[in-house]
């Protein structure tokens, strides 16, 4: 079981990204409004205002999608679909995706009800 975390920088892709999650077999996810460190420092802390130039291409706000995934094959399907929707995540300002091992979870959609 994995926790899949995806920080999506371009919020315009959110709908397509969630459609892809469902297509890949993800039955539930939580979407959190989030903000990059660079945006916060350069726009909210006057001392760092001079560094706006260095965060060009980064969106001011982003969405963080977290999801507990039972079957690790699903993670691979999500990853490959993300590549077609948002492009190569290695491009700066696209997003960050990673997984963490989950050793216990409660409250998930029952396995037999998963799509």
């Amino acid at each position: 079981m994995k926790l899949l975390v995806f920080v999506l920088n371009n919020e315009e892709y959110l709908e397509e990204v969630l459609e892809a999650y469902v297509e890949a077999g993800v039955t539930g996810a939580t979407i959190i409004d989030s903000e990059g460190m660079g945006r916060f420092l350069t726009y909210e802390v006057p001392l760092f205002a001079g560094f706006k130039e260095f965060m060009k291409g980064n969106k001011p706000y982003n969405k963080t999608i977290i999801s507990v995934i039972r079957d690790e094959v699903t993670v691979g399907r999500v990853e490959s679909l993300m590549d077609t929707i948002v492009g190569d995540l290695d491009r700066p300002g696209t997003g960050i995706m990673f997984t963490l091992p989950v050793d216990w979870a409660s409250g998930l959609v029952p396995e037999k009800e998963e799509v």
Binding site: P46, L47, G50, F51, F54
Partner: protein
């Protein structure tokens, strides 16, 4: 290790500076940097720092400020410091008169280092014990020694 202390020479520390204006303080620090590092264009550095000041205040509050700029007049990142006596009310967000001023200047190609130094100085200056100690030192050498101790 030592990012601040490596770049802050004793001759770039001005203690108990009595200047009424922010511009006057910055000018004194630029002059000190120019003497220690033989700038290619000290006037340009002064302009670059004042231009950055126009963008937003570089005061942290707590009586501290870190004016800074990227400048073509330098090929390495340097730091200078002033302790003001008496403290002066510049444009601090909390209204507290400024008594400690650190100036950071360096080439744009070193923006990452510049940002790390700025963040580290801001973190140190947020520490009340550091501020108290630095306000109490007697001379530039002791000022440098103290920075060395904290800059680990």
């Amino acid at each position: 290790m030592g990012g601040i202390s490596n770049r802050l020479l004793p001759e770039c520390i001005v203690l108990d500076l009595n200047e009424e204006s922010k511009e006057g303080v910055i000018r004194r620090l630029v002059e000190a940097v120019d003497r220690a590092h033989s700038l290619s264009d000290a006037k340009k550095l002064m302009e670059d720092i004042l231009e950055r000041e126009q963008l937003a205040s570089t005061s942290l509050g707590l009586g501290c400020a870190i004016p800074h700029a990227h400048s073509l007049s330098l090929d390495e990142t340097v730091i200078a410091a002033a302790r003001l006596s008496p403290p002066r009310a510049f444009d601090a967000p909390d209204g507290e008169p400024i008594s400690l001023v650190f100036l950071i200047a360096g080439p744009e190609s070193n923006a990452g280092l510049h940002l790390r130094l700025l963040s580290k100085l801001a973190r140190l200056l947020h520490n009340a014990r550091f501020r108290d100690e630095i306000r109490g030192v007697g001379n530039a050498e002791n000022f440098c020694d103290l920075i060395c101790r904290w800059d680990e």
